[in-house]
Amino acid sequence: MKGDLIPRTDHVALHCQPKTGLEYNGVGIPVGITKDAFRADDDGISSNWVEYDGGNFATVCLCLASVRHARKSHGVATINVGELIDVALDGGKEASAIHDPIELQRPNPGHSLIVGLGAADHEILDVLALTADVAPFTEDSIAQSKAIFGR
């Protein structure tokens, strides 16, 4: 339900792109993120609730790839909500992750927001970036994205 707090044990996922904070290792595989991967607007930092409706990494990849074009060079960064809250607290901020389903043209029922942090909190975001686990999109999600966006 919109506005519900996401439990500390759960995770949120970010769709990360090459020129916006995605780090590549020496063989060109996405392995990490920088603070630039957190895209903050007035509402918060857009993300997706991984465990929403019994979901996991594969399902959140499909969800993210259904609302924005996902390519092989893109990455999905997952962050534990409890660690997010703790890192923010260590930096003097109260942050949380809330459920924020989107029902527009491209529905995203698992959409979430990281609230309490903004682009100005770059010191906290530096630390938060290090907590992220980063992996490429699944093959299925890339194929689905290509079918939707036609590119």
């Binding site: 792109q17 090459p18 020129k19 916006t20 904070g21 995605l22 780090e23 590549y24 290792n25 020496g26 063989v27 060109g28 595989i29 996405p30 392995v31 990490g32 993120i33 920088t34 630039d36 895209r39 924005r68 074009h69 390519r71 060079s73 260590d90 010191e123 530096d126 630390v127 290090l130 907590t131």
Partner: protein, 292 residues
Amino acid sequence: MSLGEQGISGVTARASLGGLSDGRIDISSLVDTASDVDSFCCGWTGKLVPQTLLIEREGSYSGIESSVIELLWEASIPASFVQGISGSVVYGAARSFLSAKGTNFLACPMVIGEGAAGSYMFSAGACFEALGSARGANENASTGLCLFGTAYIPQRYPNKSLIYALKFLSFRKGLLSPEQLHSLELQMTALLAEGDDGELAAPEVSLLSLDTLIEFLSRYRPRTHPNLAIAKSGLFSASWTHGRRAKITLSFDRDGGEWVGVDLDAKIRNSGAFVRDSLAGIALPYREWITA
């Protein structure tokens, strides 16, 4: 595909080198026809100080919407930023240790507009400003202007950032080990291959930052090749992890850059600035994570 086939043979260049020699070279005779990199470059070797470099285009290009011209000069010559005629950046810097490597040049991408005929003058003032203290050093003036390159075809390579980055790497490969060069090529491709048509506003990528990164890797030869990213500012950053929960990240700018060190378990984050010629500005233990 040769340049002649692409219609660029009508481009000629003429250089007046310190008043000692003139040269007129047909680009089509100098291009590397095996190259698959879409850019057009010119430059010179030796300790020359061009007073003028005139690039003329005789007639329109056929099938080419625009071209890219890069000015190159020896990296060993002290230089500074100047503004090119197109507004692009002309770049050079004093790096004496590069001269021993021999084949390194710095590049100046200049985008020249639609394919109408025209002449473009690189003034003596601009050249002198670019070459800085090398002004008046006319020894070895017999070394001629050299030109090479290929045509930029937007339809084929929509992303100029990747072209420039790979070209720049090729100019600077003498500084890098084969392993470093290979990794950087893979990372540039991953970072830049997507093009500039993404859904998110992509930053203008800084070749200056890439140049500083290359020099850093050449100078310090880190045991582990870093992970690379591009910041919103267009600067490249390199990071080395220390275990799974600690990391040092360097963001490269003209003369050095900024560093951020994070250790999740120790709950510390530190940051500061560093200069290109020294690691001293990077606090311990982060500094050791780069070289260890």
